[in-house]
């Protein structure tokens, strides 16, 4: 009886350690199992989506190509690859990914139908900057917020709109960066 208890405790302890180890490394494991490079990961954005699940946007690689991946933590607490972004145009080194979330529901009169607003996000990432990325609000449509991060030739540009998503869909960031001599293909 005593021996059975000890064996059970050891099994539970091993299972607990295995769970913690797997949970701690699940992001790298998920990235590797999707054929991306687990040794080249940078978390660019993080938060919680409308399903209440934690998400991360990561930069990684597949072979020689940059990749942006939307990771989501499942109910077990393990990270999974939800979807990936793509190159903004064939042959370019600028990749992009998008996501969105509810930003509010408004109604004043109870007889009115409510109006919904959403946060629309598109994140661009490149590694071919040849000078500081410089985008001014005047170069973008009205109502776009943006955030630029840069470290040497690596950079990210995060665009956010609270209006219709068509505005973000129509912005050609690649041409803008080429025209302003910020990147070189």
């Amino acid at each position: 009886m005593k021996r059975a208890c000890i064996v059970s405790l050891i099994v539970i302890a091993i299972a607990a350690v295995a769970y913690l180890a797997f949970s701690f490394n699940s992001l790298r494991i998920a990235v590797k199992s999707a054929d991306y490079d687990p040794n080249d990961i940078a978390v660019l954005e993080r938060g919680f989506n409308d399903n209440g699940k934690e998400f991360r946007i990561i930069k990684t690689r597949k072979g020689d190509n940059l990749a942006l991946v939307y990771m989501e933590k499942n109910n077990m607490g393990f990270w999974t690859v939800s979807y990936t972004g793509g190159n903004t145009s064939p042959g370019t080194r600028l990749v992009s990914i998008g996501w969105f979330k509810n930003a509010g529901i408004r109604r004043y009169e109870v007889s009115e139908n409510p109006s919904f607003s959403s946060e629309w996000h598109i994140l661009y990432y490149g590694n071919n900057a040849i000078k500081p990325i410089d985008i001014t609000p005047e170069q973008l449509p009205r109502g776009i917020a943006f955030n630029i991060q840069q470290a040497g030739s690596d950079f990210s540009i995060h665009l956010i709109s609270y209006e219709t998503p068509d505005i973000l869909n129509q912005i050609d960031i690649h041409s803008l960066l080429i025209d302003t001599n910020c990147i070189k293909e």
Binding site: D50, N87, S89, G98, V110, P165, D166, Q170
Partner: protein, 171 residues
């Protein structure tokens, strides 16, 4: 053409016609891509969705004209739902007029609003009829659920709006 999403809403007496939506890939991407038509072959590997909804509930109390409010009776409950469904197409392929497959890598995002108002919503007539003849006249006109399906009718999500039995169910 392939659907980005379809919606259908149901109440106790059947589907709610005004809540049926069909959004094709053409509808979603045609404003940004030339050379694509409603008959173009497309290959969409992955679409992500998000939704939010607001339910409005109406509680109708009825009493006889010669009675006080102490005798009013909750005879009829109805709801309507407005739901916003957002979609995102990370990338897709389409077959151009030369028969070649073209990759569209740009993220395409969009949203549509579903208005599900069942017949008899907020109806005083229905409330009075349900008061007079509660065993044969329906006392509810509520949106029971809204189905969202994706490409090839694959089920994406079922929205279950609140369906209150009395006002305190709303919080």
């Amino acid at each position: 053409m392939l659907a980005v999403f379809e919606s259908a809403a149901w109440s106790g007496i059947g589907s709610i016609p005004g809540a049926s939506l069909f959004v094709s890939v053409y509808d979603a991407v045609s404003s940004g891509i030339s050379g694509i038509s409603r008959t173009t072959e497309v290959n969409v590997p992955h679409i992500t969705y998000s939704w939010s909804q607001a339910t409005t509930a109406s509680f109708a109390y009825v009493r006889k004209e010669n009675e006080s409010d102490d005798y009013q009776w909750l005879s009829y409950i109805s709801t309507k739902v407005v739901a916003a469904v957002g979609y995102q197409i990370p990338s897709f392929e389409y077959e151009n007029t030369d028969g070649q497959w073209v990759v569209v890598p740009t993220v395409t995002q969009g949203s549509r609003t579903i208005y599900a108002t069942p017949s008899g919503y907020d109806s005083i007539y229905s409330a009075v009829m349900a008061y007079r003849d509660p065993y044969s006249y329906p006392s509810r006109a509520t949106v029971d659920y809204i189905d969202i399906s994706g490409p090839e009718n694959k089920e994406v999500e079922t929205i279950w709006p609140v369906s209150p039995q009395f006002p305190a169910h709303i919080y």
